[in-house]
């Protein structure tokens, strides 16, 4: 039992700033990610306010363009990445029976790179200059297509902020990925072969390998763009003979794996929560692993489905269409596995499970609209419209964010020792679910009606007013959900019910420690015999290893 002595704020701060402990770093990542979630959420609210009615003038064109760019960039790089890497940081060592990550100091370095990269991006609001010299923040879209990003068309420094801040933050992600791969491959406890580690660990392993492959490509093109902008190079200079599609090919070679990098941890969270709250083992673990690895591989080969309208040859179009269809198969397998886990169970609808079920439902819809987009001739209508915006918000909000909330409500007791309030949690879920559907459902229809993406306003009498108004109302509904979340967290941190070691009656190793775990995680490193070590100890007459 650690002696809780009085320590002044300055030494507490010092402890956190200099820490290399995976748990503290994990918490820091997640806290930052959640703060940025609210910032990006405010940007989204402004976007929805502007788009609530046609020809609105709440935001100027320049400001709107900066807001949608920052909303996307923030959500992906400053919300998604830190939260998933933070969760991996916190739980991988605990789940595999290790004391820390393989390279603790590299871990800390990676966090601070992310931290300062994020600050640099937001400093652009003050320091940068946009497309027309007014707005400071980047305003070229989160995928920053050339040649819009050249100094000719983007004369201010806002694009440079985009490049450098994401380059720095990306380095941090790469370092964490190196750490995760090494930790998972070399620090599993006795008895934990690769096929006996929690499915969460498999998903994070594939995820980290994708990061190792995809992020360097982004770094390379960011360097090329910076060389163009600041040193007179011609990588994306059409006048010198460059091909703007080079940016797109290489960006999406990063960008598509990036979205799988974002969602795989969501799969991981839901794959841990669903069994515990159905009281059943995860159905089909071996094929889940195969599906995860397949997704990793195929994800590297579908990038040009973001480029179907660029005039590629029919053969190339057909290939990428086919590969995109193909990735639907292992993804579908996972959905079936989750449903099969629920089937025959005793489903407890605590908040983590509400979000997990919401995830399964919403992510499936997002996956199906993705299949529609893979049909190239349909994509020629739907690409670059609000249909796509609807699609990716279904997979990233209804998908990833719901999975994040599921994991958050599931593991908050372990991290803090306190339970979150169930009533507030349930209200949060229903507000978010309703608001989410109201905002992003209609977008599929406005896309079909011809509303392109990234427009600061739209003409009246084109059939778009109704859908946009619904979307904007949905945003307001969501505010209540997010507000309840904040209230719940702040209240529970101080007055939450004590959680104990294992409040959910779960089965993986992290639930065998105290809540929160001691700095060294385990007094003695465990040795396990099956995928659910705690099931084995709770059911000594009927352990898992007999059936695996």
């Amino acid at each position: 039992m650690i002696d809780k002595t009085y320590s002044p704020l300055s030494s507490k701060l010092h402890e956190w700033v200099t820490t290399a402990d995976h748990k503290k770093l994990g918490v820091m990542y997640i806290v930052c990610g959640i703060l940025y979630l609210f910032v990006a959420g405010c940007e989204a609210l402004m976007i929805r306010w502007q788009l609530a009615v046609p020809e609105n003038d709440v935001l100027s064109a320049e400001t709107y363009n900066a807001f949608f760019t920052m909303h996307g960039t923030t959500m992906i790089f400053l919300v998604g990445m830190p939260i998933i890497l933070g969760a991996a940081n916190y739980f991988i060592p605990l789940m595999i029976g290790a004391r820390d990550m393989a390279f603790p100091r590299l871990n800390a370095f990676g966090f601070w790179l992310f931290f300062f990269g994020g600050l640099l991006l937001y400093f652009s609001f003050l320091g940068g200059q946009g497309l027309s010299g007014e707005e400071g923040a980047p305003d070229v879209g989160w995928f920053a297509y050339a040649p819009l990003t050249s100094t000719t068309f983007s004369p201010g420094s806002s694009t440079d902020y985009w490049i450098i801040s994401l380059f720095v933050a990306g380095m941090g992600s790469i370092m964490t990925a190196i750490n995760l791969v090494t930790t998972i491959l070399t620090m599993r406890c006795k008895g934990m072969t690769l096929m006996k580690m929690p499915i969460f660990a498999w998903m994070m392993l594939v995820d980290a390998i994708l990061i190792l492959i995809a992020l360097p490509t982004l770094a390379a093109i960011q360097i090329m763009l910076l060389l163009d902008r600041q040193f007179g190079a011609h990588f994306f200079d059409a006048q010198a003979g460059a091909d703007p599609l080079i940016w797109q090919h290489l960006f999406w070679f990063f960008g598509h794996p990036e979205v799988y990098i974002l969602i795989l941890p969501g799969f991981a969270f839901v794959s841990e929560v669903t069994p515990v709250f159905s009281r059943k083992v995860l159905f089909g673990y071996p094929l889940m692993v195969v599906a995860t690895v397949s997704i990793g591989f195929i994800a590297l080969g579908v990038w040009a489905h973001h480029m179907f309208a660029t005039g590629l040859s029919p053969t190339i179009l057909a290939y990428f269409s086919g590969a995109t269809f193909l990735i639907g198969v292992p993804t579908g397998m996972k959905v079936f596995n989750w449903i099969a886990t629920l089937w025959g169970g005793q489903i407890r609808f605590a908040t983590p499970m509400l979000f997990a079920v919401g995830f399964i439902a919403m992510f499936t819809i997002g996956g199906l609209t993705g299949i529609m987009l893979a049909v190239v001739p349909m994509d020629w209508q739907l690409s670059d419209t609000y249909f796509v915006v609807g699609h990716f918000h279904f997979v990233l909000f209804g998908g990833l964010l719901f999975a994040i909330f599921s994991g958050f409500f599931y593991w908050f007791p372990k991290v803090t020792g306190k339970m979150l309030n169930e009533t507030l949690g349930k209200w949060q879920f229903w507000f978010l679910f309703a608001g989410f559907l109201l905002t992003f459902g209609p977008m599929h229809f406005s896309g079909f009606e011809g509303m392109p993406r990234r427009i600061y306003t739209y003409m009246p009498n084109r059939g778009l007013e109704f859908y946009n108004m619904l979307s904007s109302i949905g945003a307001v509904v969501q505010v209540f959900g997010f507000g309840l979340f904040v209230v719940n967290v702040l209240h529970s941190l101080r007055k939450g019910k004590p959680a104990g070691d294992d409040p959910w009656d779960a089965w993986t190793l992290e639930w065998s420690t105290t809540s929160p775990p001691p700095p060294w995680n385990f007094a003695t490193l465990p040795s396990i015999a099956s995928r659910r070590p705690l099931w084995d100890s709770k059911h000594p007459d009927d352990p898992d290893w007999k059936y695996e």
């Binding site: 393989a102 599993r188 934990m192 190792l212 770094a219 390379a220 007179g232 003979g241 015999a529 007459d541």
Partner: protein, 196 residues
């Protein structure tokens, strides 16, 4: 755990550094692959300005290449000496490795001085200029980093600070060095052989 199966399999774990360095090398592979892809995509596409055929001469660069590849051999010899605790031999071969790496860098500097000074060929000249200096430059940057690391190790060895527990890490640095050499083979083939 109260009940155990008859045998718990103990997975054989690789050392952290193995996986760590292989991960680093993986990221570098994709970084250089991106630069090489762009180089190849833009080959022959410059609208104006000099072409690889006109500017690049394979003679000097071949010598540099031999030097760099030889340094991969010498570093293996250095590690062999290290493992058999032959401090003098280790330092000698490591010194040669650093020297060969430096030769490569100096050779590159000479080539670039000619290109920039005499031919006025820079990053800004045309597509070829942009892709050439970026690809070769980043490789040279990685060589420089390797030379610095190896020099630091040499210095530590010279001061007698290197102990048995450092041997594995030194080997990881040698892996990085081998990787840098392998990238050069690819760059050399793409830029000086295929591209001309």
């Amino acid at each position: 755990m109260t009940s155990q199966p008859n045998s718990i399999s103990v997975p054989k774990m690789l050392p952290h550094g193995h996986v760590g360095m292989m991960s680093v090398i993986t990221t570098e592979i994709f970084f250089f692959a991106s630069l090489i892809v762009v180089y190849l995509a833009y080959l022959g596409k410059s609208i104006s300005g000099p072409t690889p055929e006109e500017l690049l001469s394979i003679g000097l660069v071949s010598i540099n290449t031999v030097a760099l590849l030889a340094s991969s051999v010498t570093i293996i010899l250095a590690l062999k000496a290290l493992r058999s605790c032959n401090q003098k031999k280790f330092l000698a071969w490591l010194f040669v490795t650093v020297a060969l790496g430096t030769w490569f860098l100096v050779g590159t500097a000479i080539e670039w001085t000619g290109l920039i000074g005499d031919a006025h060929f820079t990053l800004q000249t045309n597509l070829f200029g942009s892709t050439f200096y970026t690809l070769v430059g980043f490789h040279a940057f990685h060589v420089t980093f390797g030379v610095c690391a190896l020099s630091f190790i040499w210095f530590c060895g010279f001061m007698g600070w290197v102990q048995k527990k450092h041997h594995q890490n030194i080997e990881y640095v040698s892996w990085y060095w081998h990787f840098v050499d392998t990238v050069w083979i690819a760059v050399f083939l793409v830029v000086y052989v295929i591209g001309r």
